[in-house]
Protein backbone atom coordinates (compact mmCIF):
# COMPACT_ATOMS: atom_id res chain seq x y z
CA UNK A 1 0.00 0.00 0.00
CA UNK A 2 1.51 3.33 -1.06
CA UNK A 3 0.90 6.77 0.42
CA UNK A 4 -0.86 9.28 -1.80
CA UNK A 5 1.88 11.56 -3.05
CA UNK A 6 1.74 15.34 -2.73
CA UNK A 7 2.16 17.38 -5.89
CA UNK A 8 4.20 20.56 -5.64
CA UNK A 9 6.57 22.80 -7.58
CA UNK A 10 10.16 21.61 -7.70
CA UNK A 11 12.82 23.55 -5.78
CA UNK A 12 16.55 23.56 -6.43
CA UNK A 13 16.93 21.97 -2.99
CA UNK A 14 15.13 18.87 -4.35
CA UNK A 15 18.09 18.09 -6.63
CA UNK A 16 19.57 15.20 -4.63
CA UNK A 17 16.17 13.54 -4.14
CA UNK A 18 15.33 13.86 -7.84
CA UNK A 19 18.74 12.41 -8.67
CA UNK A 20 17.93 9.51 -6.38
CA UNK A 21 14.60 9.01 -8.20
CA UNK A 22 16.43 8.74 -11.54
CA UNK A 23 18.90 6.29 -10.03
CA UNK A 24 16.02 4.10 -8.84
CA UNK A 25 14.47 3.90 -12.31
CA UNK A 26 17.88 3.60 -14.01
CA UNK A 27 17.62 6.77 -16.02
CA UNK A 28 20.47 9.27 -16.42
CA UNK A 29 20.02 12.34 -14.26
CA UNK A 30 21.04 15.91 -15.00
CA UNK A 31 23.84 17.77 -13.30
CA UNK A 32 23.16 20.40 -10.67
CA UNK A 33 24.92 22.83 -13.01
CA UNK A 34 22.28 22.15 -15.67
CA UNK A 35 19.53 22.82 -13.12
CA UNK A 36 21.16 26.12 -12.21
CA UNK A 37 21.56 27.03 -15.88
CA UNK A 38 17.86 26.53 -16.60
CA UNK A 39 17.14 29.12 -13.95
CA UNK A 40 19.33 31.64 -15.76
CA UNK A 41 17.77 31.25 -19.22
CA UNK A 42 17.50 34.52 -21.20
CA UNK A 43 13.98 33.37 -22.10
CA UNK A 44 13.05 33.82 -18.47
CA UNK A 45 14.31 37.39 -18.39
CA UNK A 46 12.30 38.30 -21.46
CA UNK A 47 9.15 36.69 -20.09
CA UNK A 48 9.69 38.30 -16.70
CA UNK A 49 7.34 35.98 -14.86
CA UNK A 50 7.48 33.57 -11.95
CA UNK A 51 8.15 30.43 -13.85
CA UNK A 52 7.85 26.92 -12.38
CA UNK A 53 10.85 24.80 -13.31
CA UNK A 54 8.85 21.63 -12.95
CA UNK A 55 6.86 19.67 -10.45
CA UNK A 56 7.46 16.74 -8.15
CA UNK A 57 5.36 14.08 -6.50
CA UNK A 58 6.49 13.65 -2.91
CA UNK A 59 5.64 10.72 -0.65
CA UNK A 60 7.13 9.89 2.75
CA UNK A 61 9.86 12.51 2.31
CA UNK A 62 10.94 11.00 -1.02
CA UNK A 63 10.50 12.36 -4.51
CA UNK A 64 8.59 9.67 -6.42
CA UNK A 65 7.79 11.60 -9.60
CA UNK A 66 9.24 14.51 -11.56
CA UNK A 67 8.57 16.55 -14.66
CA UNK A 68 10.88 19.42 -15.61
CA UNK A 69 9.62 22.58 -17.29
CA UNK A 70 12.21 24.56 -19.23
CA UNK A 71 11.58 28.14 -20.41
CA UNK A 72 12.25 28.73 -24.11
CA UNK A 73 11.77 31.71 -26.38
CA UNK A 74 10.68 31.27 -29.99
CA UNK A 75 10.02 33.72 -32.78
CA UNK A 76 7.49 33.83 -35.59
CA UNK A 77 7.17 36.76 -38.02
CA UNK A 78 9.18 38.87 -35.60
CA UNK A 79 6.93 38.17 -32.63
CA UNK A 80 8.30 36.47 -29.55
CA UNK A 81 6.55 33.32 -28.42
CA UNK A 82 7.16 32.09 -24.87
CA UNK A 83 7.33 28.29 -24.80
CA UNK A 84 7.64 25.72 -22.03
CA UNK A 85 9.56 22.59 -22.93
CA UNK A 86 8.67 19.48 -20.94
CA UNK A 87 11.63 17.35 -19.93
CA UNK A 88 12.58 14.28 -17.90
CA UNK A 89 9.12 12.86 -17.13
CA UNK A 90 9.79 10.15 -14.55
CA UNK A 91 7.71 8.34 -11.93
CA UNK A 92 8.74 5.27 -9.92
CA UNK A 93 6.62 2.18 -10.74
CA UNK A 94 4.64 2.12 -7.45
CA UNK A 95 3.32 5.63 -8.15
CA UNK A 96 2.83 5.50 -11.92
CA UNK A 97 -0.94 5.88 -11.67
CA UNK A 98 -0.25 9.38 -10.26
CA UNK A 99 2.04 10.39 -13.16
CA UNK A 100 -0.73 12.18 -15.03
CA UNK A 101 -1.00 14.73 -12.22
CA UNK A 102 2.43 16.02 -13.26
CA UNK A 103 1.39 16.14 -16.92
CA UNK A 104 -1.82 17.98 -16.02
CA UNK A 105 0.18 20.66 -14.20
CA UNK A 106 2.42 21.06 -17.23
CA UNK A 107 -0.42 21.32 -19.73
CA UNK A 108 -2.50 23.66 -17.57
CA UNK A 109 0.15 26.36 -17.11
CA UNK A 110 -1.29 29.63 -18.38
CA UNK A 111 1.80 31.85 -18.65
CA UNK A 112 3.13 30.25 -21.84
CA UNK A 113 1.93 30.56 -25.43
CA UNK A 114 2.95 27.05 -26.40
CA UNK A 115 4.07 23.72 -24.99
CA UNK A 116 6.72 21.68 -26.70
CA UNK A 117 7.98 18.17 -25.99
CA UNK A 118 10.80 17.15 -28.24
CA UNK A 119 11.86 13.93 -26.56
CA UNK A 120 8.57 12.05 -26.49
CA UNK A 121 8.87 8.28 -26.41
CA UNK A 122 5.93 5.95 -26.99
CA UNK A 123 4.83 6.21 -23.35
CA UNK A 124 4.97 9.98 -23.00
CA UNK A 125 3.51 10.45 -26.50
CA UNK A 126 0.32 8.72 -25.31
CA UNK A 127 0.16 11.18 -22.41
CA UNK A 128 0.74 14.19 -24.68
CA UNK A 129 -1.95 13.02 -27.10
CA UNK A 130 -4.41 12.69 -24.23
CA UNK A 131 -3.78 16.35 -23.39
CA UNK A 132 -4.42 17.21 -27.05
CA UNK A 133 -0.82 17.89 -28.04
CA UNK A 134 -0.06 17.06 -31.67
CA UNK A 135 2.96 15.60 -33.44
CA UNK A 136 5.03 18.23 -35.26
CA UNK A 137 4.16 17.91 -38.97
CA UNK A 138 7.77 17.81 -40.17
CA UNK A 139 8.44 14.76 -42.32
CA UNK A 140 11.02 12.16 -41.37
CA UNK A 141 11.88 13.69 -37.98
CA UNK A 142 12.50 10.23 -36.55
CA UNK A 143 14.82 9.18 -39.39
CA UNK A 144 18.41 9.75 -38.31
CA UNK A 145 20.94 10.22 -41.13
CA UNK A 146 24.48 9.32 -40.14
CA UNK A 147 28.01 8.83 -41.41
CA UNK A 148 30.37 6.31 -39.82
CA UNK A 149 34.00 7.25 -39.11
CA UNK A 150 35.02 4.34 -36.92
CA UNK A 151 33.70 1.07 -38.36
CA UNK A 152 34.79 -1.13 -35.47
CA UNK A 153 33.30 1.05 -32.72
CA UNK A 154 30.11 1.48 -34.71
CA UNK A 155 29.66 -2.24 -35.41
CA UNK A 156 30.42 -3.09 -31.80
CA UNK A 157 27.70 -0.64 -30.74
CA UNK A 158 25.27 -2.33 -33.15
CA UNK A 159 26.04 -5.75 -31.67
CA UNK A 160 25.82 -4.49 -28.09
CA UNK A 161 22.47 -2.94 -28.97
CA UNK A 162 21.39 -6.35 -30.25
CA UNK A 163 22.21 -7.76 -26.77
CA UNK A 164 25.37 -9.62 -27.77
CA UNK A 165 27.80 -10.10 -24.85
CA UNK A 166 30.64 -7.57 -24.83
CA UNK A 167 33.43 -9.90 -25.97
CA UNK A 168 31.36 -11.41 -28.80
CA UNK A 169 30.26 -7.93 -29.87
CA UNK A 170 33.90 -6.77 -29.96
CA UNK A 171 35.05 -9.88 -31.83
CA UNK A 172 32.30 -9.82 -34.42
CA UNK A 173 32.87 -6.09 -34.96
CA UNK A 174 36.61 -6.67 -35.43
CA UNK A 175 35.90 -9.38 -38.01
CA UNK A 176 33.42 -7.32 -40.02
CA UNK A 177 35.00 -3.86 -39.67
CA UNK A 178 37.29 -4.06 -42.77
CA UNK A 179 34.37 -4.99 -45.02
CA UNK A 180 32.19 -2.29 -43.47
CA UNK A 181 34.96 0.27 -43.93
CA UNK A 182 35.10 -0.53 -47.64
CA UNK A 183 31.34 -0.03 -47.86
CA UNK A 184 31.55 3.35 -46.13
CA UNK A 185 34.44 4.43 -48.34
CA UNK A 186 32.51 3.47 -51.47
CA UNK A 187 29.44 5.33 -50.20
CA UNK A 188 31.43 8.44 -49.40
CA UNK A 189 33.80 8.40 -52.35
CA UNK A 190 32.45 11.55 -53.99
CA UNK A 191 34.80 14.44 -53.35
CA UNK A 192 33.31 17.91 -53.27
CA UNK A 193 35.80 20.46 -54.57
CA UNK A 194 37.06 22.92 -52.01
CA UNK A 195 36.58 26.61 -52.69
CA UNK A 196 38.96 29.27 -51.53
CA UNK A 197 36.22 31.87 -51.15
CA UNK A 198 34.01 29.65 -48.96
CA UNK A 199 35.30 29.10 -45.44
CA UNK A 200 34.18 27.13 -42.41
CA UNK A 201 35.92 28.53 -39.34
CA UNK A 202 35.76 27.27 -35.79
CA UNK A 203 34.20 29.90 -33.56
CA UNK A 204 34.63 30.29 -29.82
CA UNK A 205 31.34 30.84 -28.05
CA UNK A 206 32.71 33.82 -26.15
CA UNK A 207 33.57 35.47 -29.46
CA UNK A 208 30.11 35.32 -31.02
CA UNK A 209 29.78 38.78 -32.46
CA UNK A 210 27.28 41.17 -33.97
CA UNK A 211 27.13 39.13 -37.17
CA UNK A 212 25.29 36.38 -35.28
CA UNK A 213 22.76 38.80 -33.82
CA UNK A 214 22.26 40.49 -37.21
CA UNK A 215 21.54 37.11 -38.78
CA UNK A 216 19.03 36.31 -36.04
CA UNK A 217 17.31 39.72 -36.33
CA UNK A 218 16.86 39.08 -40.05
CA UNK A 219 15.76 35.46 -39.81
CA UNK A 220 13.30 35.91 -36.95
CA UNK A 221 11.07 38.00 -39.22
CA UNK A 222 10.39 34.98 -41.43
CA UNK A 223 7.20 32.90 -41.50
CA UNK A 224 9.06 30.13 -39.69
CA UNK A 225 8.78 29.13 -36.04
CA UNK A 226 12.40 29.48 -34.94
CA UNK A 227 13.80 28.85 -31.49
CA UNK A 228 15.66 31.96 -30.29
CA UNK A 229 19.15 32.07 -31.78
CA UNK A 230 20.25 35.42 -30.40
CA UNK A 231 23.84 35.56 -29.13
CA UNK A 232 22.57 35.63 -25.54
CA UNK A 233 20.55 32.46 -26.09
CA UNK A 234 23.34 30.67 -27.98
CA UNK A 235 25.81 31.47 -25.21
CA UNK A 236 23.37 30.29 -22.55
CA UNK A 237 22.74 27.00 -24.33
CA UNK A 238 26.40 26.23 -25.10
CA UNK A 239 27.60 27.26 -21.64
CA UNK A 240 25.46 24.55 -20.00
CA UNK A 241 28.18 22.11 -21.14
CA UNK A 242 30.73 24.14 -23.14
CA UNK A 243 33.26 21.35 -23.62
CA UNK A 244 30.74 19.32 -25.60
CA UNK A 245 29.93 21.92 -28.23
CA UNK A 246 31.78 22.89 -31.40
CA UNK A 247 30.61 25.85 -33.43
CA UNK A 248 31.67 26.73 -36.95
CA UNK A 249 30.98 29.98 -38.77
CA UNK A 250 30.46 29.92 -42.55
CA UNK A 251 31.93 32.77 -44.60
CA UNK A 252 31.72 33.60 -48.32
CA UNK A 253 34.42 36.06 -49.41
CA UNK A 254 34.67 37.16 -45.80
CA UNK A 255 30.93 37.71 -45.45
CA UNK A 256 29.19 35.79 -42.65
CA UNK A 257 26.54 33.41 -43.99
CA UNK A 258 25.59 31.40 -40.93
CA UNK A 259 26.81 28.71 -38.62
CA UNK A 260 26.77 25.00 -37.85
CA UNK A 261 26.61 23.81 -34.25
CA UNK A 262 27.79 20.36 -33.18
CA UNK A 263 27.57 18.51 -29.91
CA UNK A 264 29.63 15.51 -28.88
CA UNK A 265 27.76 12.84 -26.98
CA UNK A 266 29.06 9.68 -25.35
CA UNK A 267 26.55 6.84 -25.39
CA UNK A 268 27.97 4.96 -22.43
CA UNK A 269 26.01 1.71 -22.73
CA UNK A 270 27.01 1.38 -26.41
CA UNK A 271 30.55 2.69 -25.88
CA UNK A 272 30.00 5.03 -28.80
CA UNK A 273 31.20 8.60 -29.22
CA UNK A 274 28.92 10.38 -31.60
CA UNK A 275 28.77 13.87 -33.00
CA UNK A 276 25.33 15.41 -33.48
CA UNK A 277 24.52 18.28 -35.81
CA UNK A 278 22.46 20.43 -33.48
CA UNK A 279 21.94 23.37 -35.80
CA UNK A 280 22.50 24.59 -39.33
CA UNK A 281 21.35 28.17 -39.49
CA UNK A 282 21.89 30.99 -41.93
CA UNK A 283 21.44 32.21 -45.48
CA UNK A 284 23.79 30.01 -47.44
CA UNK A 285 22.73 31.51 -50.82
CA UNK A 286 22.39 28.20 -52.64
CA UNK A 287 22.53 24.43 -52.21
CA UNK A 288 26.04 24.15 -53.66
CA UNK A 289 27.44 26.39 -50.92
CA UNK A 290 25.87 24.24 -48.24
CA UNK A 291 27.11 21.03 -49.87
CA UNK A 292 30.67 22.35 -49.80
CA UNK A 293 30.29 23.59 -46.22
CA UNK A 294 28.99 20.20 -45.06
CA UNK A 295 31.82 18.53 -46.91
CA UNK A 296 34.27 20.76 -45.02
CA UNK A 297 32.40 20.00 -41.81
CA UNK A 298 32.80 16.25 -42.36
CA UNK A 299 36.57 16.83 -42.56
CA UNK A 300 36.51 18.84 -39.31
CA UNK A 301 34.47 16.16 -37.55
CA UNK A 302 36.93 13.43 -38.57
CA UNK A 303 39.55 15.36 -36.59
CA UNK A 304 37.33 15.27 -33.49
CA UNK A 305 37.91 11.48 -33.32
CA UNK A 306 34.23 10.62 -33.05
CA UNK A 307 32.67 7.37 -34.23
CA UNK A 308 29.67 8.79 -36.08
CA UNK A 309 28.24 12.08 -37.34
CA UNK A 310 24.45 12.23 -37.03
CA UNK A 311 21.69 14.57 -38.07
CA UNK A 312 18.15 14.52 -36.71
CA UNK A 313 15.26 16.63 -37.92
CA UNK A 314 15.62 19.71 -40.18
CA UNK A 315 13.34 20.52 -43.10
CA UNK A 316 13.35 18.53 -46.32
CA UNK A 317 15.60 21.01 -48.17
CA UNK A 318 18.47 20.51 -45.73
CA UNK A 319 17.97 16.75 -45.42
CA UNK A 320 18.09 16.52 -49.23
CA UNK A 321 21.55 18.11 -49.21
CA UNK A 322 22.78 15.80 -46.43
CA UNK A 323 21.52 12.80 -48.40
CA UNK A 324 23.99 13.69 -51.16
CA UNK A 325 26.63 12.30 -48.78
CA UNK A 326 24.86 8.90 -48.91
CA UNK A 327 24.41 8.54 -45.15
CA UNK A 328 23.12 5.45 -43.37
CA UNK A 329 19.65 5.70 -41.84
CA UNK A 330 18.04 4.52 -38.64
CA UNK A 331 14.70 5.19 -37.02
CA UNK A 332 14.38 6.51 -33.46
CA UNK A 333 11.26 6.08 -31.29
CA UNK A 334 10.95 9.80 -30.59
CA UNK A 335 8.77 12.44 -32.21
CA UNK A 336 8.24 16.02 -31.03
CA UNK A 337 4.78 17.10 -29.82
CA UNK A 338 3.40 20.62 -29.46
CA UNK A 339 0.35 22.45 -28.24
CA UNK A 340 -0.39 26.10 -28.99
CA UNK A 341 -2.75 28.18 -26.89
CA UNK A 342 -3.99 30.66 -29.49
CA UNK A 343 -6.19 29.76 -32.44
CA UNK A 344 -4.12 31.71 -35.00
CA UNK A 345 -0.99 29.73 -34.10
CA UNK A 346 -2.98 26.48 -34.03
CA UNK A 347 -3.91 27.18 -37.64
CA UNK A 348 -0.56 28.29 -39.09
CA UNK A 349 1.41 25.53 -37.38
CA UNK A 350 -0.38 22.90 -39.48
CA UNK A 351 1.71 24.05 -42.42
CA UNK A 352 4.94 22.05 -42.80
CA UNK A 353 7.02 25.15 -43.73
CA UNK A 354 6.16 26.66 -40.33
CA UNK A 355 8.62 24.29 -38.66
CA UNK A 356 12.43 24.15 -38.61
CA UNK A 357 12.78 21.44 -36.00
CA UNK A 358 16.18 20.05 -35.11
CA UNK A 359 18.01 19.14 -31.92
CA UNK A 360 18.21 22.90 -31.32
CA UNK A 361 14.52 22.85 -30.39
CA UNK A 362 12.94 22.25 -27.03
CA UNK A 363 15.05 20.25 -24.66
CA UNK A 364 16.49 17.86 -27.31
CA UNK A 365 20.11 18.80 -26.85
CA UNK A 366 20.15 20.31 -23.36
Amino acid sequence: MTTHPVLREVQISDYEKVKSLFRKIRMPSESIEAWKSYRKSPALKKAGKDFPFGWVLEAESNIVGYLANIPMMYSYQGSEVFVAAGRAFAVIPEYRSHGLKLALKYFKQQEVAALLNTTANEHSAAVFKYFKAKPVPQAHYNEVLFLVFNSWQFLRAVFINCKFPGTIASGAALFLAPLFKIITMLKQKEIYPGRQDLLLKKVCVEDLGDEFDKLWVKKKEQDVFYTDRSVAMLKWRINIAPSLYHMYGAYLKGQFLGYILLKIERVEHLKLKRCLIIDIFGDFMNDDNLVILISKLVGEVRDLKVDTLEIIGFPKAIRKIVKRFLPFKRIIPNWPYFKFRTQDMKTVCQNGVFWYMSLMDGDSSL
Binding site: R96, S97, L100, A103
Partner: protein, 81 residues
Protein backbone atom coordinates in the same frame (compact mmCIF):
# COMPACT_ATOMS: atom_id res chain seq x y z
CA UNK B 1 -29.27 1.70 -14.03
CA UNK B 2 -26.94 2.53 -11.11
CA UNK B 3 -25.98 -1.14 -10.90
CA UNK B 4 -25.40 -1.18 -14.67
CA UNK B 5 -22.89 1.67 -14.34
CA UNK B 6 -20.99 -0.13 -11.59
CA UNK B 7 -20.86 -3.39 -13.54
CA UNK B 8 -19.82 -1.71 -16.76
CA UNK B 9 -17.09 0.33 -15.03
CA UNK B 10 -15.71 -2.80 -13.38
CA UNK B 11 -15.80 -4.70 -16.67
CA UNK B 12 -13.88 -1.91 -18.43
CA UNK B 13 -11.24 -1.94 -15.68
CA UNK B 14 -10.90 -5.74 -15.83
CA UNK B 15 -10.28 -5.50 -19.58
CA UNK B 16 -7.84 -2.59 -19.41
CA UNK B 17 -5.77 -3.79 -16.47
CA UNK B 18 -5.93 -7.46 -17.50
CA UNK B 19 -6.85 -8.71 -14.03
CA UNK B 20 -9.23 -11.40 -12.79
CA UNK B 21 -12.76 -10.18 -11.86
CA UNK B 22 -12.22 -10.73 -8.12
CA UNK B 23 -9.38 -8.17 -8.13
CA UNK B 24 -11.68 -5.27 -8.99
CA UNK B 25 -14.28 -4.22 -6.42
CA UNK B 26 -15.71 -0.86 -5.41
CA UNK B 27 -12.95 -0.69 -2.78
CA UNK B 28 -10.09 -1.12 -5.25
CA UNK B 29 -7.66 1.77 -5.74
CA UNK B 30 -4.80 2.30 -8.17
CA UNK B 31 -2.39 1.18 -5.44
CA UNK B 32 -3.86 -2.35 -5.48
CA UNK B 33 -3.58 -2.91 -9.24
CA UNK B 34 -0.15 -3.66 -10.61
CA UNK B 35 -0.82 -2.49 -14.19
CA UNK B 36 -2.44 0.80 -13.21
CA UNK B 37 0.13 3.19 -14.68
CA UNK B 38 -0.43 6.48 -16.49
CA UNK B 39 -0.65 4.85 -19.92
CA UNK B 40 -3.28 2.32 -18.81
CA UNK B 41 -5.05 5.09 -16.92
CA UNK B 42 -5.43 6.99 -20.21
CA UNK B 43 -6.66 3.80 -21.93
CA UNK B 44 -9.18 3.37 -19.10
CA UNK B 45 -10.47 6.95 -19.41
CA UNK B 46 -10.85 6.65 -23.18
CA UNK B 47 -12.60 3.26 -22.84
CA UNK B 48 -15.01 4.62 -20.21
CA UNK B 49 -15.76 7.69 -22.33
CA UNK B 50 -16.58 5.44 -25.25
CA UNK B 51 -18.62 3.00 -23.15
CA UNK B 52 -20.84 5.69 -21.62
CA UNK B 53 -20.71 8.33 -24.38
CA UNK B 54 -19.40 10.95 -21.95
CA UNK B 55 -16.33 13.13 -21.62
CA UNK B 56 -14.48 13.65 -18.34
CA UNK B 57 -12.78 16.95 -17.49
CA UNK B 58 -9.00 16.55 -17.53
CA UNK B 59 -8.79 17.32 -13.79
CA UNK B 60 -11.45 14.70 -13.02
CA UNK B 61 -9.86 12.13 -15.30
CA UNK B 62 -6.46 12.50 -13.67
CA UNK B 63 -7.74 12.22 -10.11
CA UNK B 64 -10.02 9.18 -10.56
CA UNK B 65 -7.71 6.70 -8.86
CA UNK B 66 -10.22 4.43 -7.15
CA UNK B 67 -13.06 2.34 -8.52
CA UNK B 68 -15.53 3.97 -6.12
CA UNK B 69 -14.54 7.44 -7.33
CA UNK B 70 -14.76 6.42 -10.99
CA UNK B 71 -18.29 5.10 -10.44
CA UNK B 72 -19.37 8.25 -8.59
CA UNK B 73 -17.94 10.64 -11.20
CA UNK B 74 -19.40 8.58 -14.04
CA UNK B 75 -22.83 8.53 -12.45
CA UNK B 76 -22.59 12.29 -12.02
CA UNK B 77 -21.73 12.70 -15.70
CA UNK B 78 -24.73 10.55 -16.61
CA UNK B 79 -27.02 12.57 -14.34
CA UNK B 80 -27.75 9.61 -12.07
CA UNK B 81 -27.06 11.34 -8.74
Amino acid sequence: MNMDVQEKVIQVLINIFQVSPDKITTETTSDNVENWDSMNHISMILALEQEFGISYDEEQAVSMLSVGEIIEVTKGKLGLQ
